[in-house]
Point group: C2
Chain length 340, copies 2
């Protein structure tokens, strides 16, 4: 490995001090420095292929211009899209991103946070898993800037950027009701995460508002660990009960895809026999035999807002907290329109 060339090397060759090299290469003290000297320094830096050592700079200025991004799993398309948006937005602010996948585990989150704190990231963007409340409190107590994205915990007063899951679900359910479907089922994940609970709550609220009682009877919550079987079973139950459902609302991406696979195998006509709405989008929907109505989360805004908020938070001493809620959009396709 060739030696990296440093300011010292440049300084020595030109017989000046490293301070001067630093001032010149950083464009500081412009009005004081001799133009010839400045030019010489710049030329030599260029010629030698000088690359500033960001590590040394970070140590000195106590900032790394790095964001720690902790998501559930970077290989999941939702996380990956968000990561890309955050990467781009961070770059616009001269920040770099280090990422980690926590697999919805509080322990792994803690591990990752420790590692990234050692590496002195300036702040975190976190999709916090269930059970990470204490961890987040601890972070807050240590005055580490961070922003929760997608997930949140109402008892914690911290920065968040989330979408209005309640409203989106209610809107989707209302849409189905307006289309004339009254028996509407919902599949959701069984989890304590509030953003998921909000989806169920929005669904139920819409049913109640439409005058339905027993609004939970067609809501099935499945266990992530046993997702495939439970989705199939839940759909079978909802379709074969005394009052079968006329429409189904999937609480997320993965449930939707598994559900659609099963529905296809049942040879059900969409939307004649069953209407469908899904939370989240997926290019997989395009291969389904009927264009699928879905809720589109404003991922770009979500990611951009998180970066913006984090960077503000890094810049400010006073740790005020900010909660941003974004609205999702219902993309209506054939799968939810009986009378098209």
């Amino acid at each position: 490995m060739k030696k990296n060339i440093s300011m010292k090397d440049i300084a020595q060759r030109l017989g000046v001090s490293t301070a001067l090299v630093s001032y010149v290469l950083n464009g500081q003290l412009k009005d004081r420095i001799n133009k010839d000297t400045a030019q010489k320094i710049k030329s030599l830096a260029e010629e030698l292929g000088y690359r500033p050592n960001h590590v040394a700079k970070s140590l000195k200025i106590n900032k790394t211009l790095t964001i720690g991004l902790i998501l559930a799993d970077i290989s999941n398309p939702f996380s990956a899209s968000l990561a890309r948006i955050i990467e781009d937005e961070a770059k616009r602010h001269e920040y770099t991103v280090i990422f980690g996948s926590a697999d919805e585990s509080a322990d792994k989150s803690e591990d990752l946070i420790r590692t990234l704190m050692s590496r002195r990231v300036d702040g975190f963007i976190l999709a916090a898993p269930e059970g990470s409340e204490e961890l987040l409190s601890a972070l807050k107590k240590q005055d580490i800037p961070f922003v929760l994205i997608d997930r949140y915990f109402p008892e914690l007063q911290v920065n968040t950027v989330t979408i209005n899951n309640f409203q989106a679900s209610a809107e989707a359910t209302n849409h189905l009701l307006e289309q004339g479907f009254s028996e509407i089922g919902m599949l959701n994940l069984k989890a304590d995460l509030l953003h998921l609970a909000e989806r169920s709550r929005g669904y139920k609220a819409a049913l109640i508002q439409a005058g339905q009682k027993d609004e939970g009877k067609n809501l099935k919550e499945v266990d992530e660990k046993n997702m495939i079987e439970e989705v199939h079973q839940a759909i079978n139950e909802l379709l074969n009960q005394p009052e079968p459902i006329q429409a189904i609302f999937f609480g997320n991406n993965n449930l939707a895809i598994e559900g659609l696979i099963h529905i296809r195998s049942l040879n059900i006509r969409i939307p004649e026999d069953l209407a469908i709405v899904c939370f989240d989008e997926s290019n997989a929907y395009n291969l389904f035999y009927c264009p699928v109505t879905y809720i589109r989360q404003p991922l770009a805004k979500l990611g951009q807002a998180a970066v913006k908020l984090l960077i503000e938070s890094i810049g400010n001493q006073e740790r005020s907290t900010n909660n941003i809620t974004l609205e999702a959009e219902l993309i209506i396709q054939k799968s939810s329109q009986k009378y098209i």
Copy 2:
């Protein structure tokens, strides 16, 4: 922001030198250090919540234990899966990953490499875009350790981990031939990237071996920029020509999905009217009306091999290069079997 506590803080409180603190916390000089003192240091470190400053350490030891990962686009499932595998494998070796999306642009790649070099990553894993040969030569000349993944350039003697695209394509084509399909079309991307060219070459080689002449007549290369229209048009042409194709082989994921969407809209029976094989897997295939035969790339092995090779390369002075080729696997489903 609370002050981070350092070795100095611990040393001062206990009236010892920072050197001693360093030795104790790093478990060095174990046989020399007084056990009581060691215990005191460890306890105080724990009590104060000491976190080593990796930035300072990196500066001193001239290693960051960080890998720069540059892929086409982290939001693309192929990249994202690879990123996850590399993340995990890197973590097993105590490495952290900084990633960047280069969007198949040599300029962006260069930018990213510069940034990450400033941050003194120990090495790179790169999915190098078209036209980055010079850049890679320059990297090599500077003795920066790196490994190319997925893509490669035969004229460059550098570390690579790739799959055997030629063999995989030939195998897929042979499979179709064995099933009794003789008129086989292929859709591939129009690009100079060798790994794509190899896919076309494998396809043609299989046809030639089967005694076909004019082996390129059913090969359509589409432009990425105008992908959707060109895929539709290409399929139409292949199906409506004097000797229509009986089977089609998609050169990658995105082509396959777009192709399948179009094929569905044409109400073609699979595999009776048209057999299908795709390069790459996708959970989207599951929503198609016929289980799709596809080539599965050994992503886990690919990522793991890349990390392993990179870390070896970082450790060695002598810059020997290593080229690892992995075989893909053909997953045969109904879409390519006429006589099931």
